[in-house]
Subunit: 345 residues, 2 copies
DNA sequence: CTGAAAGCGCTTACAG
DNA sequence: CTGAAAGCGCTTACAG
């Protein structure tokens, strides 16, 4: 039965090395290396002796040491906002799958939306010499990554563009998606529509607001100042914002939610009201179809964001000469009921 | 402006090393090491010269090389079922936070419920010489980890016990939770209750079934063979199982769902029926309270599973002499409506 | 206070 | 077909 190690065992110094295997098998170090790596040029008899020594000693190649000589670590770093956020789950998995297809492992961590923590984490990954870095930015100044990129760390930003440096970015078409969602409400007869979104320093928040304004302008509809609220997406703040938009002489008949957290809070708020209010949210979420009414959303493909970004990363790692690109993925309006509620007037 | 690297740049061989910094500053290698690691015994003047050289060359210590000498990699490996599964998000984040508090990074990956892939991934992590390993088992034979554990890899299993080896495990009280959930239905007047769960080779599935049988037995209620269905949790299979349990002379008036996937499918199935059927599910899920009726669940604390497991891992890494333990965390019944629907008869 | 030498566990480049 | 030497970029152990 295995046992958990005593402190004195805690270095891998007591693990057998290729040198030990070589001594045990009575061959040279390089011969062991050849067998372990499946290189040609070893007689079957020698190979068998080495294999037996490997079994007997329980040898496993130390890939950390290997990496030091090879130059590549076969590791990709992923910095995202929060590993616990369901939105990033499919993205995380997609990055993993592409990395896996290239034989690479994934180190990831959460920035917790803190620019300092993002920086600390990204640089720690660079110190580990990840081959590539995928970053969902929390901060808006990424000049700290310049030396790393210059030194060879392939870097792709996802979901939000890099700040103050030139780098690949893969994101959803926030502007177009929001414009489509708001146009959908307008097509349903709404003329007074509220917009509740994230902090204005977040790129997607302002892009979606821009889409909202574009749709309203396209329809020749005015936008009252009280209909737009950017800021914290904490439930209390969103509830308060909704309450004020839904009352008074300029009360809105429909709401557009800037992201999934806002949408979920608004669903709760609207469930408590007697008067039906139309709702379209940016970002899809699980079970949106099971609610009554089902929640109409502008869906982005989180898995595709991760896949496209990681594909690009490995293209660069493969030596492709690509210009810095901004890749925008389309969104999809999914009508489920909440966005099709007519205005009451 | 930074640029993505040309192929010839792709080794970190062209990065400055401590040797380069030493030459630039006109000092010895060890002095650079002292400055970089904040060790005492360097005159302010020397330190300044070294710092200037570091800035000038854009030096960043190679932690991969450092690790080779140090023995510890300050890295924890996490093997889970699916990075995209929302159930594992909070667990993943909790592991990250504890690791971070100990200065360690997290390498993680999905087994996709494939025992071979679990093994391949876990051993790849061992080859990278992670200090510790947290495994949510897909397979039921983990003897392949024996040599690794003996060589010093601290290992803790989560959510399901290890197979055929002795090792720490942290899990939720599936038996007790299911028993409580079913007892809740019985207390509400139900006498015919169906159980739909995962494959019988999955430990949590059989434990929950055992809890179901215990609650029925405690209440002196018989269990018809047609009321229990274990197997694939694919929606079609779950729907079919529910349909057959809900019809015929022995039709059940309530269902207990063995996990969140089953619960969600059952919510869909029951939404299409006119006759109300009570439902309690194992595992909480987002928005369960927003559905009508709200879904009553037996909730486990996924973040606590991750936290407790990682705490234990670092206790072992810190040299604590702990016996192998099985740590069970309690569950919590959350009544929201679906589990309080009375039987119709 | 400072640094030259040896070594962590591998691979590379080369010689036999 | 096989292996001794050098080196990847650091830290350790030691000497001055």
């Amino acid at each position: 039965m295995p046992h958990n190690p005593r402190p004195s065992d805690l270095r891998y110094g007591n693990r057998p090395t290729m040198k030990d295997v070589a001594a045990h098998a009575g061959v040279g170090l390089k011969t062991v290396s050849r067998v372990v790596n499946g290189e040609a040029g070893v007689t079957p008899d020698t190979e068998r002796r080495v294999q037996e020594a490997i079994e007997a000693l329980g040898f496993r190649r130390n890939d950390s040491a290997r990496v030091l000589r090879k130059g590549r670590t076969a590791t990709v770093g992923l910095v995202l906002e929060d590993l616990a956020d369901p939105f990033y789950g499919p993205l995380n998995r997609a990055v993993e799958e592409v990395a896996r297809a290239h034989g690479a492992l994934l180190i990831n961590g959460s920035s917790a939306e803190d620019p300092d923590r993002e920086r600390e984490l990204a640089l720690a990954l660079c110190a580990r010499r990840v081959d590539g870095l995928i970053v969902i930015p929390a901060g808006d100044d990424h000049r700290y990554l310049e030396p790393e990129m210059r030194a060879g760390v392939a870097t792709v930003f996802v979901d939000r563009p890099a700040g103050r440096i030139e780098a690949d970015v893969v994101l959803s078409d926030s502007f177009g998606g929001a414009r489509d969602g708001v146009a959908h409400l307008i097509a349903g007869g709404h003329r007074r529509i509220g917009f509740i979104g994230d902090h204005p320093h977040i790129h997607t928040a302002t892009e979606r607001l821009r889409g909202y304004r574009a749709a309203m302008a396209d329809a020749g509809l005015p936008v009252a100042g009280s209909w737009v609220r950017l800021g914290s997406t904490a439930p209390e703040r969103v509830s308060a914002a909704a309450a004020s938009m839904l009352s008074g002489p300029e009360a809105v008949s429909a709401l557009f939610a800037g992201n999934n957290r806002v949408t979920v809070t608004l669903v709760r708020v609207l469930a408590d009201r007697d008067r039906p209010v139309a709702l379209v949210g940016f970002d899809d979420f699980e079970l949106a179809d099971l609610l009554r009414p089902g929640v109409t959303v502008v869906a982005q493909d989180a898995a595709a964001l991760g896949r496209v970004a990681t594909d690009r990363l490995f293209q660069r790692l493969g030596g492709a000469h690509l210009p810095t690109a901004r890749i925008e993925l389309g969104t999809r309006l999914i009508a489920r009921g909440s966005g099709e509620l007519p205005p009451l007037d």
